[in-house]
Subunit: 195 residues, 2 copies
């Protein structure tokens, strides 16, 4: 019995996150009420508060879980130690991971302005943890003389922006497969830091 | 007398756009009412309708004027004909132009989803007009053998994403001047298409 109740609660929690994600992505955080989210998943608005104390916490959890999932996934991707193979693995990982989560990526950028200062600081720490992995690859590559990197921080931001930008134009029904996109982007990233 | 009335109307129109831009950037289009915009500039909501028929038209004009201004500015930048100097001039122009307009750039990306299909199509045409200028430079460079470009469309999207991405991290009070940022980004763009 406890188990069934637990499963149902977990299920409602998951549907709540999914509904909030879609409503925030479509209309924006500020325009969506807890009442609308409750209606979307077919529960009373009071029932939501068993799962989440308020809308700000809901937004923060969505963004923070997106970053936690990214950090776990990059860990699981087993990026090699050698700088150039590491950069290739990171490039391909970043494109694939983000292309599979367009709504999370969109609200992660768009709704930063709606986080409380405390929540924004927590999210920034997660983001910097991810960015630091790419910066470390570039610094190792520059130190080993296999990459030219004037400024590891700017190169990190440039590479992440160009890779995440794939989400703005890539369509699965388009002329190119994601594998072809990865290939061309890896060529551009490799040249961008060519020693 | 006509002249004074005309100037006042133009002034209200400009203040209306500025207020809408800031409110949309802060709260999102869907969360902002015409009443709030009117309150922000100190007029009755009925007075807004002398300037703009509805909120959708207001959003479209903001985004469309941003693109029109971009197209005029790139024209005025007198990009040279030679491919490599053209790419350098385009890179520097794009960073400078966008860094000076963070709110317009932000809502131009974020509020695309709130345009009507007709307005979206009009804006897309303007955007493609701009992107085509960069694609043409890359194609000329590849044809002349001074650039390596596997896919001019993807290289265009990659370069624009990385350059516009400067807006997400650059602060005028930071460790770098915009001139230094331009310099490092031009180095990365040049290598990205190195033949």
């Amino acid at each position: 019995m406890t188990r069934t109740v637990g499963s149902t609660a977990a299920d409602t929690g998951a549907r709540l996150r999914q509904a909030a994600l879609q409503l925030f992505a479509r209309h924006g955080y500020a325009a969506v009420s807890m009442r609308q989210i409750a209606a979307e998943i077919g529960v009373q608005v009071g029932g939501l508060y068993n799962h989440i104390p308020d809308k700000q916490t809901l937004l923060f959890r969505l963004l923070s879980e997106h970053m936690a999932e990214l950090l776990e996934a990059v860990e699981a991707a087993e990026i090699p130690a050698e700088p150039l193979p590491a950069l290739e693995a990171f490039t391909r990982f970043h494109i694939r991971h983000h292309a599979a989560r367009p709504e999370q990526v969109f609200i992660s950028y768009m709704e930063l302005r709606n986080l409380s200062p405390e929540n924004f600081a927590l999210l920034e720490a997660q983001r910097q943890d991810y960015e630091a992995r790419l910066s470390a690859i570039l610094e190792r590559g520059a130190a080993a003389g296999v990459m030219q990197v004037e400024d590891a921080r700017m190169a990190t931001m440039a590479i992440i922006a160009m890779l995440t930008g794939v989400n703005t134009w890539f369509r699965e029904t388009g002329r190119l497969s994601l594998g072809q996109v990865e290939e061309v982007y890896w060529g551009m990233v490799r040249r961008m830091v060519a020693a």
